[in-house]
């Protein structure tokens, strides 16, 4: 696979003084902390009535699919390796952690996460978890693969196979087409 570290992620950021919003490529962005992300994740974990974990992953997929698809179109990012590199860089810029795509094809992918906002925050807040908790990253990866391979959303199933929050040295994810 080609090197994926040569794409430089571009985006236009500005503070809009009238609304007092922070806009990135025209979208409203907001700063929150690991308490907020952790408690939303906890809420998703506890919400068994309507599968909150799936809900959170789908919300993340929808949000980041729009961001990444628009970015690829706006900045003319066409090559698969550049799209994946852009995804890795965007993930880091947002403070989600370090994401490394080990391999990727239209039907399958493997991803490593040496560091993670959700997991670091979970450990800081509650300590070790008995199970993987990074549903936002599951959604992000489903979005990245769908956008990178020109597929619609809900094209991929993402499974977290190792979890920093559960004691693993790094988190790992497997992406498989549905």
């Amino acid at each position: 696979m080609a090197e994926t570290n040569h794409h430089s992620f571009q985006m236009e950021q500005k503070f809009e003084p009238r609304s007092c919003r922070h806009l990135v490529d025209g979208r409203t962005y907001v700063l929150h902390c690991h308490h907020y992300a952790g408690l939303y994740t906890q809420l998703a974990e506890d919400c068994g009535v309507l599968d909150g974990k799936k809900l959170l992953a789908e919300v993340a997929e929808d949000t980041f699919y729009d961001v990444l698809s628009d970015h690829f179109q706006k900045y003319g990012v066409a090559r698969i390796e550049d799209r994946l590199a852009a995804g890795e860089q965007y993930y880091r810029i947002t403070g989600m952690g370090l994401l490394k795509v080990a391999c990727a094809g239209p039907d399958y992918g493997e991803i490593a996460l040496p560091s993670s906002h959700i997991d670091a925050g979970w450990l800081k807040k509650w300590g070790k978890s008995g199970k993987p908790v990074n549903h936002i990253t599951r959604g992000f990866l489903a979005a990245l693969f769908a956008a990178a391979f020109n597929r619609p959303r809900r094209s991929y199933t993402v499974t977290e196979t190792a979890s920093i929050a559960s004691g693993a040295p790094e988190s790992r994810f497997v992406v498989v087409t549905r």
Binding site: Q13, F15, P17, S19, C20, R21, H22, V24, R27, T28, Y29, V30, L31, H32, C33, H34, H35, Y36, A37, L39, Y40, L43, A44, D46, C47, V49, L50, G52, L55, L56, V59, A60, D62, T63, F64, D66, V67, Y91, R92, I93, T94, G95, M96, G97, L98, L99, P114, S115, H117, A120, G121, K124, I136
Partner: protein, 204 residues
Amino acid sequence: MAINRKRIIESLSQVSVSANDQGLIPAFNVFVNQFPAALWNSFAERLTHRVNGDLLPAAEYLLVDAAHECGYHTGYGIITSEEWASVVGPMIENAPEDVLHGAFAVFTAWGWAKAEIVELVPGKRMVVRAYDYYEADSTRFGATRKPSAYMIRGVCSAFMDLAYGGPYDPTGKTALRTFECTQIKGIECGDDYGEFVVTPAAAA
């Protein structure tokens, strides 16, 4: 009051956070993330519209509580930060009331909501108005009967905890949740602005 809200917003809206070599943003005693607001809005709205009526109050409580904890810990990180000390600190004459006014200027500068205190009875009651806030984006046409500003409710309560709830408690066991907030108006409900009333928590 010596708080120069305009100056605080102009100055602190330019503060940028950037990730370290681990892709994390440690700042203000927490790990910070910067996501599209749509992520938080979509989760809150899909959750509150999908749970049945009996569970709606519990779901809304948990959404507000997430912001309450976030606002408490991040708020404390902000008011003890170097940025605060250099920009807001010199304006404070009357603590904690000036601290509260300054905190809402920072709240505005960071894009959480264009909000200010319109009434403050120290230790007893605070009324906040928000003239623009991302949580109102959940309704793009018409008006909803369900107020949606869970984040603002939680953070308003948290700021009152920090001002009047006692010394900051990193565990959140003592001085957190001493206040609660009710949203009485909302842009998403067809009002010109959101309005939030904070009072001592019933169980506090």
